[in-house]
């Protein structure tokens, strides 16, 4: 269920009034649910999906595969925290397979991202190896197509 969350995930700016009508609830109920989701950290934030390549702003994204030596007792989580606390890290996942973490890093230039890897990440204790892949082009992010198709085209121009 969680229809409210589904609607917010599609469009974070949807109004409670609209949600209420769409789901057949009262506005009060919708507001209460949203507040509860926020309190319980189910909803963690509201963000826009931006195609930075459309405006003049230098932006580089890299996906970095990291292999680590987990510490006794603390496992992966403590190590992960030391990595994701860096503000350059925008996404981080623990992975199954041949490496341990995938981290997504944003920077304003190749140099900046490289510096982050060589100065902050690689020298960190218990890091075994890193492998950095730079993003060349964004096609889709957070479920949003970067080349959106307009609403249905009407071909019936008779």
């Amino acid at each position: 269920m969680h229809r409210i969350l589904q609607l917010l995930e599609q469009d974070a700016r949807i109004t409670p009034a609209r949600i209420a009508k769409m789901l057949g609830m009262s506005e009060q109920q919708v507001n209460d649910s949203i507040r509860k989701y926020e309190r319980d950290n189910v909803i963690l934030g509201y963000k826009a999906v931006i195609d930075w390549s459309k405006i003049k702003r230098d932006n580089v994204t890299a996906l970095i595969e990291v292999r680590v030596r987990p510490q006794t007792g603390a496992g992966f989580d403590e190590l992960a925290q030391r990595i994701y606390n860096h503000k350059q890290v925008v996404d981080m996942y623990l992975m199954s397979g041949s490496f341990d973490f995938t981290i997504i890093v944003n920077g304003s230039s190749l140099q900046e991202v490289s510096r982050f890897v060589s100065e902050n990440l690689a020298p960190m204790e218990n890091i075994v190896s890193t492998s950095t892949h730079f993003v060349l082009k964004a096609y889709k992010n957070a479920g949003v197509d970067f080349n959106p198709v307009d609403e249905r085209e009407d071909f019936r121009d008779d």
Binding site: R18, K21, M22, R152, D154
Partner: protein, 389 residues
Amino acid sequence: MIDYSSLISDKAKTIKTSGIRKFFDIVSTMEDAISLGVGEPDFQTPWQVRRAGIDSLQQGKTFYTSNWGLVDLRKEIAKYAWENYHLEYDYHKEIIVTVGGSEAIDNALRSFVSEGDEVLIPEPSFVCYTPLAIMAGGKPVPLKTRMEDGFKLTAETLKQAITPKTKVLIMPFPNNPTGAIMTREELEKIAAVLRGTNIVVISDEIYCELTYGGKKHVCFAELPGMRERTIVINGFSKSYAMTGWRLGWVMAPKEMLQPLVKIHQFGIMSAPTVSQFAGIEAMRTGKQDIKYMREQYDMRRRFMYQRLQEIGMPCFEPEGAFYIFPSIQNYMEDDEAFCDQLLRKKKVAVVPGSAFGESGRGHVRISYSYSMMHLETAMERIEEFIQEL
């Protein structure tokens, strides 16, 4: 100079052009005008279905299929009928694939209507039944449905309309333009009237996947004694958002399907091959897509119904398809004038109810097959329009 009007057949002269498109020519010339008029899904065909069509082209599958349609597709259709309605149709002899539901309706009417036969058509309903009945030589007989009855066909209305000349009854549910559906109990009352007769039923079930509030569509052939007299028409356009592929199907007892197969064989050959390959994929993997689209329509339906309530337009809560059919009689007599003024003053296009038959007069059809943003803006404009009247 040729006098062209003297060349046109009498029947073709009798039929009128569709009243749906009338306002859309104006829309395209108006800046910032928005339409709530289109009767097709706003979703694109699911990607894996488009992919299957592309694959078939890449593999060079560009030939005619059997007149009946691809065997694999007919098998999927038979499976669909069994899973959804517990109806058995032999895919060798009781199913054909057509060029959309429209060909099927045309073909079915031509197969059973002789000159002067009466064709019972519940109204308001989709614009094609009357002209196609006329072209088949029949005499269209409208059966009025009313907002108070939820725009359902009642047994009384049917009974009163039946004469010795009655040949065909069209069953257009879930209904375009009203959004009405009919439950098993309600259909049973219709079946009870038909049981002692030889009336053929053409059941147009193109919107069968779009029913809301947990009410599952009932196929007319499911009712006891109805399979033997019913031509079930369905298609991919609305369920799978595949209007442009032009793909539909007919299920009927083999004796009844024979004339349709002949007409289809000579008039059409076979439905588009690329579409048939896509159709197989749609039926195999499209269930989740249907569910997603249905949920989206359902939310919009609730939104539209609520908004019309707020505005104060008397309205029947639709249970199927993607239309809502409010009455405008509190504001104006003439639905065409209402649509005309709404378009000129507030730049919103909707379709006059009278385009769907006399009993649609005094209503307008609003399609909610549009994005929420589009619907919200349109409803704000309609609200302003009503307040200024």
